[in-house]
């Protein structure tokens, strides 16, 4: 019977599919896409028995966690255990990953059709699913870190999927290096925790931390380093620069990895280690909030002026990730996880919608799109649902989830944070509605592309519609009644928590403010960007400085480039010179040349004549005799 004890099967199935596809992929019919889909589909089905068992055991204290693991290394006193565990956080991630991965892979069958590396795409997708499921199932930091790097590697492979395009190869490199900066912090943080607690096990680490094994500064440093990993992976300021560029990958990749799953791994990591954050200095959580808020603002304003549809959606993803970080900064795991769930559905939907537009027109710049709702009514409808969900219009899922975060920020943070959150809701409504208006309404700006546009095939629209339905209803689970009906005793808020059960609350005033802000955003977008978008252009011309600032991404990319050019490369050149001249030419080649030269000179001592040798021997003996007589006697 499949249950929590063998939840590792969820990760093992795609891993097996990956192994088979890697070796036999080219020989399988249809390049093995069915195998990849079957594996992730089976994982999705296996999720339900795991959930059922978790629900069954959740009220029995001590029955949790479902542990299965094995000893990896055992040497004298040193023992390293790797294992899997299922708890409430994991369950949310499991359903998100397995369901969205299934939808995206089905969608990809049509989207990637005819690509020369069709089979490789599904191979990578399987590896990604395996790594991501391992990441959320891991019960220790070491396995988590291995899977963490695994998803990063898949992200690299898939962003650079069309690596014959230079920009894609560059973007893949940028994503890998930028996230790596955070990953180094994560690794150091994990090692710091291990050094003082002697274990990689997450639960044991918590217990040790509660017992006060670590001093507060030490623990604070460790959690901040772990947070650095989350900042890199979840594209938070200042390491957010890689995510917009990651849109170079195929759109299904953006939907799965760079919207629904991998980028939320950072949120998951912070949620998972939140007990440590709470034990650390309060400044740690304040930093999470502050960086989250900064990210929310920068991404929202940049989203206002970008014209590439995938990039706008990417900025909205960064925006959402920032919101989740703000929720975690307030200690609200449930709010963050519910938003994560809703976000996974509507953001995957938005990306798949972008993919359909791209597939139909071959254009991804809104300056060349427009009026597409006449050609693609179904795509336009589901995309509209995604836009409204992201904007936070009730009763779509985005509203309920975002409302939880805003409510928690109004209760746990100061008025400044709350005010910024409401403002961000307004800007989100503005730029999401703008995206919809520019893409699907008005007059087509590129006649040729418009004439060729067509509705996507059913294999692409069906996942879209399923995700749209979930984007509508997923938010309703915040209600206790709905949660109970689905089998979660006491509502989902009592299910997903770490320290204290949190019932989902609904505050009329807060909700009203956020609805008004969201509606104002959407209506503002209608005013600015309807038809010819004259008011928007006028506003841009009126504030050229602000427009340039946003358009150039706050010059952060330029700053990093300058930093690389003037500091990193200069230093690298010095190191390269040192390596070439001092280490290589002098140290290695120099000593070899010296040996060759001296050998060439000294070889003439070997005359081959017996009398010379005899004379040398006797001379040596005489010298030794003289020395012996003068020194020893």
């Amino acid at each position: 019977m499949v249950g929590m004890d063998n939840a590792w099967l969820l990760a093992a199935l795609p891993a097996g599919a990956f192994a088979i596809l890697l070796i036999f992929g080219p020989y399988l019919p249809r390049r093995g896409d069915w195998l990849s889909i079957a594996a992730i589909g089976a994982s999705f089905i296996l999720f339900f028995p795991v959930l059922a068992e978790l629900l069954d055991k959740i009220d029995t204290p001590g029955a949790l966690p479902g542990l299965s693991g094995w000893t990896w290394i055992e040497y004298a006193d040193f023992k390293l255990r790797l294992g899997f565990a299922v708890d409430q956080l994991t369950i949310v991630m499991l359903v998100v990953v397995s369901f969205v991965a299934l939808m995206v892979q089905v969608y990809s069958v049509a989207y990637m059709k005819g690509d020369p590396h069709y089979g490789w795409f599904f191979t990578c997708m399987s590896l990604f699913a395996a790594a991501m499921l391992t990441l959320v199932l891991a019960d220790n930091f070491l396995l988590l870190y291995i899977a963490w790097e695994g998803v990063g590697f898949c992200s690299y492979l898939l962003i650079g999927f069309w690596n014959e395009r230079r920009s894609a190869a560059e973007a893949a490199k940028k994503a890998f290096i930028t996230t790596r900066i955070g990953d180094v912090g994560l690794l150091i943080g994990i090692i710091m925790l291990w050094r003082s607690t002697g274990t990689f096990d997450i639960r044991e680490t918590f217990e040790a931390a509660r017992a006060g094994v670590m001093s507060e500064p030490y623990l604070t440093t460790a959690v901040l380093l772990i947070f650095a990993g989350a900042v890199g992976k979840s594209a938070q300021f200042p390491l957010h620069v890689w995510l917009p560029d990651a849109m170079e990958g195929p759109t299904p990749v953006s939907a799965l990895i760079h919207a629904a799953t991998m980028v939320v791994a950072g949120v998951y990591l912070v949620a998972r280690t939140l007990p440590l954050f709470e034990l650390a200095h309060p400044a740690a959580l304040d930093l999470v909030t502050a960086l989250g808020l900064t990210t929310v603002f920068m991404s929202a304003t940049m989203g206002l002026v970008m014209t590439d549809i995938k990039r706008v959606v990417a900025y909205s993803t960064i925006n959402s990730l920032g919101l989740m970080m703000v929720a975690l900064g307030s200690g609200q795991v449930a709010a963050a996880m519910i938003y994560l769930l809703a976000h996974a559905f509507f953001k995957a939907l938005l990306f798949l919608g972008c993919g359909s537009v791209l597939h139909a027109t071959g254009k991804d710049d809104v300056q060349e799109l427009g009026g597409l709702w006449r050609k693609m009514p179904l795509t336009a409808t589901v995309f509209g649902v995604g836009v409204l969900a992201m904007a936070g219009i009730p009763p779509l899922s985005g509203f309920w989830a975002k409302d939880e975060i805003i409510l928690s920020s109004s209760q746990h943070q100061n008025a400044f944070v709350y005010g910024l959150m409401v403002l961000s809701v307004f800007i989100t409504g503005l730029y999401m509605a703008r995206l919809f208006l520019l893409t699907f309404t008005g007059e087509p700006r590129d006649r040729h592309a418009f004439e060729h546009a067509h509705e996507a095939p059913p294999i692409m629209t069906v996942p879209n519609v399923l995700l749209a339905v979930l984007a509508v209803v997923a938010g309703l689970v915040v209600f206790d009644q709905v949660g109970e009906a689905l089998g979660f005793p006491g509502g989902i808020g009592k299910f997903v928590y770490l320290a204290e059960p949190e019932a989902f609350k609904f505050h009329g005033g807060v909700a009203a403010v956020s609805i008004i802000a969201a509606l104002a955003g959407v209506l503002g977008a209608l005013y600015f960007w309807r038809g010819e978008a004259k008011p928007a252009k006028a506003a841009g011309a009126r504030f050229p400085f602000v427009y340039a600032l946003w358009k150039n991404k706050y010059y952060i990319d330029n700053l990093y480039q300058a930093l690389i050019d003037h500091v990193v490369l200069v230093f690298s050149r010095f190191i390269a010179w040192w390596d070439r001249k001092i280490i290589n030419d002098t140290g290695v080649n120099g000593s070899a040349a010296l040996a060759v030269y001296s050998g060439f000179r000294l070889k003439f001592l070997q005359t081959g004549r017996l009398p010379n040798y005899a004379f040398a021997i006797i001379l040596g003996v005489v010298v030794m005799a003289i020395v012996a007589m003068t020194v020893l006697v």
Binding site: Q606, T607, G608, R609, L610, P611, A614, F615, I618
Partner: protein, 102 residues
Amino acid sequence: MIPMQHFLVLSGILFSLGVYGVLARRSAVLILMAVELMLQAVSINFIAFAVYLAPDAFVGLIFAVFVITVAAAEVGLLLAIVLRIFRNQATANVDEVDLMRW
């Protein structure tokens, strides 16, 4: 009884003759004979020390036997080499044989 120094002097003279022979002679066979002289000088030393300093121990005497054995084997080997050189080079003059140089 003859004092030990006499034996040592004899040994020294023989050894010096051997050294002179090795350095001054050019014929390989003569050099071999000079080497034998040096070996026998050492043997005389061994026996003299053994008899005079440790009459109860046989170590020095045994060593002399060893020296003779090794010398016999060595001469056999070296004469074979000299013979081959003579066959190949038509000379046994060590000044003219420098095949093993750099």
